[in-house]
Amino acid sequence: MLRYSVKRLFSLILSLAVASLVIFFVIEIAPGDPASFMLGINAQPDTVAALRTELGLDQSKFSRYAAWVGGMLSGDFGTSYTYRTPVAEMIADRLWVSLPLALYALALSTLIAFPAGIYAAARRGKAGDMAVMGATQLGVAVPNFWFAMMLVLIFAINLRWFNAGGFVGWDEGLLAGLHSLTLPAISLALPQAAILARVMRSALLDILGEDFMRTARAKGLSRRQALWRHGLRNALIPVLTIIGLQFSFLLAGAIIIEQVFYLPGLGRLVFQAISARDLIVVESVVMLLVFAVITVNFLVDLAYAAVDPRLRSRT
């Protein structure tokens, strides 16, 4: 188990290193000089040169990469070109919206998908299964931002149960905060729940055909007991993979959903930064998102080992 974890950790670090290189050099080839962009077209050349020195733009590519990575490791993401404030602070503020939103959505999606998938698998071919499968087929096809607009129309504009947008802030209390994230979380979660429920169902159905399920029945377990005691844990292996993949969709989806609800999250930050050509902010947010995806995949790998003893004893 330890060796497996260490090996995974090693590949996590390698992935992060390569990802940071890719991001750095992609931003590097972006046209335009940030310093002249910040100072406008009328700036004096020596002012631009001074700012370049201040921003470290006159150094070699390699040393700037090293400085960027080194800074990030110590929590210093640099200074925003447009706002002249530390990027780390800007991101931290926004993260308090985006991360809870993604986790809220992930929790909702899992809570909806597991019972739905298990129910459908247990009633394979019957009316209940058909209904769940039909609903998921529709759920998969709905764009989450459109679904969000419909939720706003119904629950905010017509029923007035929720605000149409904005975030009250966590200072108002946990419940108030969650309340204002509920519509965004639902609109993120439902399409993902539809996918997850389908995966859960088909994973369970695959397991139902396994020899050891027949063995369980031969021991005297009922169909339901066999499904719960032997099916579920084995079915978790493919389901975990999808949950890991979904996290990256949820993060990316959150960026779009923030636009619908005018939430002050990472999404709005990155779009503002793009239009202001504040590339250091773009660079840092992208790195953060990629870091999150890679880390979640690492956690999924560890979860595999917890579920599957064969992985624990292998390398």
Binding site: V26, I29, A141, V142, P143, W146, S248, V282, V286, I294
Partner: protein, 271 residues
């Protein structure tokens, strides 16, 4: 043929037809503004109503189908034409450094959701439909590489491949002659699914302004325009949304139907 395949095929064909017809005919010119007749609900003249500039929504939907299909199709093409050879090569040299390199490269690309790629590209080159294509296409590469490799790996263990190796055929020839035809069904099904995901992704990117730019019509941008008016003109959001849902639903049903139809073993196992 299953009900799924017929229904899905019909829906997909309808969307494709609308896109094709839009090249030669639309009820109105989709760019012509007609402010006096703005925000009409569906009626006999404007079958699906008009938007806030008085443009005919039916025409915009028809032309928008073109954008959606073009972006998704090219993105699937990019994913397949790069991902499939990579997957075949990785499987043919399974366990080698080449396999390792391809698979680690795949993992790396998977860490960049297509929206993030689109953000990066936009940061450099500015927004546009081409960027959406590239972003979705890059994300499709590891999808096809993985699925091809997975299926090819199990085929390499099959005895008919061993027989071909005994007959002295090299890996490239075996991949082309024996592996590819036997994974083709799988790729067709996955292609349909990626196509529908591409439509969704294009809509999302256009919605946030990273996709097709005006005047190129796009379902996603129609929704972005509709957002501020959803309280008094909900049809502006309902109609493009329904167009996206029906297209994606059609493609997904077709994918499911194709999978069952192309794989008789699966058809038996499912009943």
């Amino acid at each position: 043929m299953s009900r799924n395949l017929i229904l899905g095929g019909a829906l997909s064909a309808l969307v494709l037809l609308a896109a094709m017809v839009s090249f030669v005919w639309t009820p109105f010119d989709h760019t012509t503004m007609d402010i006096p007749s703005k925000l009409q609900t569906p009626n006999a003249i404007h079958w699906l109503g008009t938007d806030h500039f008085g443009r005919d929504i039916f025409s915009m939907i028809m032309v928008g189908a073109r954008t959606s299909i073009a972006v998704a199709l090219v993105a699937v093409g990019i994913g397949m034409s790069i991902g499939v050879p990579l997957g075949l090569a990785a499987a043919a040299r399974s366990g080698s450094w080449l396999d390792e390199l391809i698979m680690r490269g795949n993992d790396l690309v998977f860490a960049f959701p297509s929206l993030v790629i689109a953000i990066l590209i936009t940061a450099i080159f500015g927004a546009g439909a081409v960027n959406a294509i590239i972003a979705i296409g890059i994300f499709n590469i590891p999808v096809f590489a993985r699925i091809t490799r997975g299926a090819a790996l199990s085929l390499w263990q099959r005895e008919f491949i061993l027989a071909a190796r005994v007959a002295g055929k090299n890996a490239a020839r075996i991949s082309a002659e024996h592996i590819l035809p036997n994974v083709a069904n799988l790729l067709i099904v996955q292609g349909t699914i990626q196509f529908s995901l591409g439509i969704l992704a294009e809509a999302g990117l256009s919605y946030v302004g990273l996709g097709a730019q005006p005047p190129t019509p796009s379902w996603g941008r129609m929704l972005a325009d509709a957002q501020t008016m959803v309280s008094f003109a909900p049809h502006l959001a309902l109609i493009p949304g329904t167009a996206i849902i029906l297209t994606v639903l059609g493609l997904n049903l077709m994918g499911d139907g194709l999978r069952d139809w192309l794989d008789p073993k699966l058809r038996v196992a499912r009943t």
